[in-house]
Symmetry: C2
Subunit: 597 residues, 2 copies
Amino acid sequence: MSKIKLPLRDIEFALFELFHFEEHYADYCPSLDRSLTKALLNESARFCEDILAPLSASGDTEGCRLVDGEVITPAGFKTAYQQYCDAGWPSLARSAEFGGQGLPQSLGIVMNELSATANYAWTMYPGLSQGAMHTIESHGSDFQKQTYLPALISGEWTGTMCLTEAHCGTDLGLLKTKATPVGDGSFSLTGTKIFISSGDHDLAQNIVHIVLARLPDAPAGTKGISLFIVPKFTVNADGSLGARNGVSCGSLEHKMGIHGNATCVLNFDGAVGTLLGEANKGLHLMFTFMNLARLGAALQGIAHAESGFQAALNYSRERLQGRSLSGAKNPTGVADPIISHPDVRRMLMTQKALSEGMRMMAYFAAKRVDIAQHAATPEKRQMAQDMLSVVTPIAKGFITELGFESASLALQCFGGHGYIKEWGVEQNLRDCRIASLYEGTTGVQALDLLGRKILLSDGKLMDGFTKCIQHFCQDPTNAPELSPYADSLTRLHTEWLGVTQHIGALAQQNPDEVGAASVDYLMYCGYIFMGYLWARAAKTALAALATSSDEQDFYRAKLATARFYFERILPRTLTLVATIKSGANNLMELPAEQFAF
Amino acid sequence: MSKIKLPLRDIEFALFELFHFEEHYADYCPSLDRSLTKALLNESARFCEDILAPLSASGDTEGCRLVDGEVITPAGFKTAYQQYCDAGWPSLARSAEFGGQGLPQSLGIVMNELSATANYAWTMYPGLSQGAMHTIESHGSDFQKQTYLPALISGEWTGTMCLTEAHCGTDLGLLKTKATPVGDGSFSLTGTKIFISSGDHDLAQNIVHIVLARLPDAPAGTKGISLFIVPKFTVNADGSLGARNGVSCGSLEHKMGIHGNATCVLNFDGAVGTLLGEANKGLHLMFTFMNLARLGAALQGIAHAESGFQAALNYSRERLQGRSLSGAKNPTGVADPIISHPDVRRMLMTQKALSEGMRMMAYFAAKRVDIAQHAATPEKRQMAQDMLSVVTPIAKGFITELGFESASLALQCFGGHGYIKEWGVEQNLRDCRIASLYEGTTGVQALDLLGRKILLSDGKLMDGFTKCIQHFCQDPTNAPELSPYADSLTRLHTEWLGVTQHIGALAQQNPDEVGAASVDYLMYCGYIFMGYLWARAAKTALAALATSSDEQDFYRAKLATARFYFERILPRTLTLVATIKSGANNLMELPAEQFAF
């Protein structure tokens, strides 16, 4: 992979110019002014570019090894993690009460994007920790918090989330891991979990597993799942490490990509754990962190779109092949750089429009994560939460699908060279492929969005969202250049409401209509949402160009990309409306046994 | 991967019922009646399922090794190749004059599909041989034919095509490998070729390389390229093997997939070769085999779509997860099979409609390969050749792009399990990704189709194609059930002509309009073409259902799949028309240096 240059200028555009995070932080974290935010971004970017990025390819090649029951991470991972902890990054957005810096979650999300873009497999070690910390912060007893949070927040220990078993992923109601009370208030856990990211490794002294399991008297299905904290090493009363607990890595999964991350089969064999939160409410409690985890998976889409785009752009500027049909662009060279060819530009512009568009989408969500947590009134918090409940499945599903498309286009720009490991774009594509599978597949996100969120609320959860679009389209201060975008969004806004009502009406007759429409509907929402964001970006760029900005090129590029999005990407909604409206029959009529002969 | 079952019933449907190959073969190869064709298909399928398929996963894991300058293929590959030769498969469609069986090329294409589906990496060894044989058959001197063809046709030797160099793939005019006459009529070749599939291996005694190189006095660019035959071992006058020639494998490429195939860097260091065909006409001569090679790459799309679909279908029938929203489908089990869920069906139906549709497209082309070669009159041959010149880039570009989409959907059906090596679908996706890169990227196919074929012929090369569609739509014998398909195709037919004229007009002003529209145009043509084929399949199925066929389920499945195609896949043309018409400006306005800041 060519050396990564984290897109700080674009990040600042989205944060400060588009979404006004400086003003936002003034409400929730007054110390975090623009200058401090930029300083933190710069420092993090330097670490990610200099330390993490060089370990991405070697981490892929070397992978993780299971030696005598212990997982060894690729060379350099441990040292990088130590540097990461020494610089205080794990504690950035964590509670000050237990040693965190108390900065907003949104800033943590942006930082995660940086490290994810530099080295996704490595980022999953501290990434999973954040999930565990968040769950303990939200649902742990004081004792659990005091026992586990300080060392997790410092990064001395890491955490995992142990959900999946061989026979159940999406359908967690089927899980079998048992937790038996041993009489002293603790539990003995027995069962096997699979696909446990960062499940064992040599980066930290201890690993704190958050485990879904069933109590002996638990009701069947999802209503009988409880959460437990199971540390790799038990913790003594004084906080020192005690005995090795009965949890071990049985094997490492052999995966398509993210080889640098240890994806473990974890055997719990009478492992000692404590109940986290109320018994039998585990699935509900888990969803408090699951939404953040889904935004985290969306960041993976951005990361691979961005790193693929950078590689493809560099290659397309340098690779000389063929002559432009409209006249030589490099007449003294043997051929023109392939970026002269319209179809290469189509691929590059698609990647550019998607990666910048995804970034806007993620930051739009990130701002609402802060508001939902910290706003002064319950109404404001609820409004942000409602918005998030719709934006999260869209962001997770839409961004991970388009991240893969983008990563594949990056590879395509290289021609045959893209298929060879040395350029890094094939790793980027392999690493990327997991994103639309874990933390709920795209199909699961789509059912969550359309079924649980939109239809179950009678469309009310769409309100905040559609109002944003209406507000933009009807803003009398819009420059005339924005008219085509506002017109297009106005039309889509009406169409969107109609399509939603159409599905709602059909679903009353046949519940399969929801599943039949769901993924196309999620993508349709995503394209409209991203259209709204690109229209806003164009508005911001036009305003900046109207001043005497010395970055005319930057803002003009935003306008060109917005135009590209509306002319070349947004028309995908035309197909999606047609397929959504085609209904469930064309999916359901064929008996399962007649799919092949 | 679950055990592959080659889709013989579907192959027979396409061959005999849809395209009437029995009648076709009666014209060109009377011995090849339906019963013999089916016997050959069955025998080949048994070999592919029993011998080749089990070596696919192990070939991926083991890969090829370069030991002391010689390439070692994965365990079992050599034995399988020996069995393949012993059964006479390499000679099937080759000239009887040199030991071939003289059966039609189309049958060879179907056989290649079978082995490609079972084990793509292995299939590339005999596959590249076919390219070399075809080139020598078409352009070799009698002496060259006598020297090389018998051992190639028996499979004792294999062949390669050596085109690419590090600095030139698409733009072969830049190639540097030199061929210097040594005075005895032979040439000394020096240069380095990369990405040479099957470039060295241990399956055969000798390897016959067809090499693009430049004579000392050659004009610059594509008009100064000549073809040479360069064997790994020189051949003595009596046909026995002579000295090791100056060509060697410098290294093996590290690739994303097709690990079982040796992709070599080949160093030519004063290697002895003979000129093949006329000097400086190499690029032109190469295209006689390139069109067949492109159909071969299209088969790869079918192969991975088919094998992915089979794996996903088996898994979706067995994996129990969640309950159907429209009521339990497996009430006595812990959950319903995931094929009960509409979105899983959407993914499966997409794979089914695409893999069967691709197969029809490939056989449509294959029939015309026979006609172009053997028809009684030059008019008929030319008509078939014209059709092929349009169908080939569509089949190559469209099928390889959709093969990848299909393989990715197959993986998606597995959820997180799809990302793990043991199920085989991640290998299927990795193996598949090369298909839209080699033998000309999708962008190259698209420029060939729109620029060189359609616009340069003033649309004339479209004629045969559009007449087929018109003929179908206007057939008074069409059953009423076909009306929606005929109506849809009639509308698209008109739209298609309009879109083509639109681009043609724009291109007169700005040649970049061709490249800007080209890939979307290719895909647009592909969807219409496949729509035509699905409509014909529906017609054939309706006719069979009107008889007292005892395969009612099979034909009803065809009708359901045709309906799915028209309702869920063909609407993609809506987006493509919009993006094609959006023109070149949205791609070309951004200066190359302003794609990132």
